[in-house]
């Protein structure tokens, strides 16, 4: 079993405005990118992020060897139950995906 964080060289999550999160998975080569696309199936990604697969937008950007996911924030930024103002820690959930 290999973790996503052992294949990708950087996984970054950020806000894309107060209502969206966006997670970028950067790979160093086409081979790593293809492994990451295989491992990070949308069903599993939606599950670990606690969202519906229908809400998850997936972009496979082969030119950059980047797999990107965008999803509505689990809590709107800064509301009372939001835990992470900048959405920075969601990347960790994908880093731990194994396959």
């Amino acid at each position: 079993m290999t973790k996503l964080s052992e294949i990708a060289f950087k996984i970054r999550s950020k806000n894309a405005g107060p209502f969206w999160l966006t997670i970028d998975i950067f790979c160093a080569s086409r081979k790593d990118f293809e492994r990451v696309c295989q491992l990070a199936r949308s069903t599993r990604v939606a599950q670990v992020l606690g969202t519906d697969e229908a809400q998850l937008k997936r972009y496979e950007i082969a030119d950059l060897n980047v797999l990107k996911f965008s999803l509505p924030r689990p809590q709107i930024q800064g509301t009372r139950f939001d835990r992470d103002m900048h959405g920075a820690s969601f990347a960790v959930l994908l880093a731990d995906l194994e396959g």
């Binding site: 107060p18 950059l64 980047v66 965008s70 930024q77 800064g78 139950f81």
Partner: protein, 454 residues
């Protein structure tokens, strides 16, 4: 357009208050830019700033950096434009930066024409626009009623290139704009001069975070040169390099769709963009497309009160309590909530987060482990300051002494502060993810020209 009509926009950094490499800024000024553009904020630090209409950065930092940019403007003899002044771009935040500008002009003996563009919207007028069917939701759709609009402490509309162009047409030395899209201050002049529209918006997106689209983000300063076919990116920091990879990857940054960017009046599409290294530090980009929309719309942002908050922090180090921390906080949450409901008739929420366990991700964190100590952060939110403090005070004895079982001596836990309760004051929430239809770009924006300085 001929080669001599190349329009060079100098961007000192990603935002005023973040700092930049002074040598890089000086190099940029020496290269004769046509305009200096800088962003003054964004929503990224949360709803407090729009809710209160205030700046995130210290007045001293803003004044120091703004003075240097005003000096750079004087040296370059070109307009200086700031968008989203004062973090949130509300009218009060614009006034705050205008005051700072007047002080600096007086201190420096500068005489300046300042165009002030305001983006603030009246809640009543927006409620009418909602009834008239001129406000439309964006994804993810949130419910919007007239009551929500009228409860906002600040609503702003995001100005685009057209409104910045009106401000530039006044012949102003400095443009201080309220809420603006991140790209508008950069794209406005190239578009006015007939540069390639797709290139103008794409180059503006690449430049809006300063040198973030290069190998040395901390150098801050970048020059984007626009022309009839596209644009060229050149960092001003000595060690910074723009590469086809750093430039093209920047479309991913804080952007939910890596191929498109929506602006008032249409959207940018970069699907067919071509990135070419001109040398080891500059990149040429062509092939981006601007797709005009059927209707001119501006995005709205609004913030309203989310109640008042009081927090407490207790530290648990005793191994048996650390080991059973979840059971301990669940018991406190239940008992304290019941007691507060018995004593108060007002609504509130109480939440205990475990710092050192899963405070960051909550239920999504399936692999959290607990170390030798845990911070227990109690968060009370209620409709008034007084109620939030009352509930937090009811929580206090539990965090101090609550036992895991009845058959044990009363334990005591560590509070780092006295009083243990810390008022966070009024909290705010973003409540608009919508666009407003306009009949013409200036319909809801106000432009004023001031003469400042001696």
């Amino acid at each position: 357009m001929t080669h001599s009509n190349v329009t060079k926009i100098l961007i000192p950094s990603g935002a005023l208050g973040l700092g930049y490499d002074r040598a890089a800024l000086a190099r940029g000024v020496a290269e004769s830019p046509d305009l200096i553009a800088i962003d003054g904020g964004s929503t990224d630090s949360g709803p407090h700033y729009l809710g209160t209409g205030t700046s995130k950065y210290s007045r001293g930092s803003i004044k120091a950096e703004w003075r240097e940019l005003m000096q750079a403007r004087a040296a370059a003899q070109v307009p200086l434009v700031i968008g989203t002044a004062g973090t949130c771009g509300a009218d009060s935040a614009v006034d705050w930066l205008v005051d700072i500008t007047k002080e600096i002009a007086d201190e420096e003996g500068m005489t300046l024409k300042v165009a002030v563009l305001k983006s603030g919207q009246s809640p009543t007028r927006m409620a009418k626009a909602l009834v008239d069917g001129r406000i439309h939701p964006l994804e993810p759709v949130t419910e919007l009623t007239s009551e929500v609009l009228e409860s906002c402490t600040n609503i702003v509309a995001l100005a685009g290139a057209e409104q910045i162009q009106r401000a530039l047409e006044t012949g102003a030395d400095i443009v201080i704009a309220g809420r603006t899209t991140d790209t508008a201050t950069i794209a406005a002049l190239p578009l006015m001069r007939g540069c390639h529209a797709g290139g103008a918006w794409h180059g503006a997106k690449i430049g809006e975070c300063g040198a973030l689209a290069t190998t040395s983000p901390n150098t801050g300063t970048i020059m984007i040169s626009f022309d009839a076919q596209g644009f060229t990116v050149e960092p001003m920091g000595e060690a910074a390099q723009a590469t086809p990879y750093t430039v093209s990857a920047h479309m991913l940054y804080e952007n939910s769709n890596p191929h498109q960017l929506y602006e008032p009046g249409g959207h940018l599409d970069v699907t067919d963009a071509q990135y070419t290294a001109l040398d080891d530090r500059s990149v040429r980009v062509t092939g981006s497309t601007w797709v005009p929309g059927a209707q001119y719309t501006v995005k709205l942002e609004g913030a309203r009160s989310g109640g008042f908050q009081t927090v407490s922090l207790a530290l648990v180090r005793e191994p048996r309590y650390v080991e059973n921390i979840r059971e301990w906080v669940a018991d406190i949450e239940a008992k304290c909530t019941a007691k507060a409901k018995e004593r108060l008739n007002d609504p509130f929420t109480l939440e205990l987060r475990l710092i050192g366990a899963d405070a960051t991700l909550g239920n999504l964190d399936k692999t959290a482990t607990i170390g030798s100590e845990v911070g227990v952060l109690g968060i009370v939110t209620a409709p008034t300051e007084a109620i939030s403090r009352e509930v937090a005070k009811i929580l206090n004895p539990y965090l101090l002494h609550h036992p895991l079982s009845e058959q044990e001596e009363m334990p005591t836990f560590a509070f780092p502060f006295s009083p243990a309760e810390m008022s966070r004051g009024e909290i705010y929430e973003f409540c608009l993810n919508h666009v407003l239809e306009l009949t013409e770009p200036m319909e809801v924006f106000r432009l004023e020209v001031l003469e400042v300085g001696k």
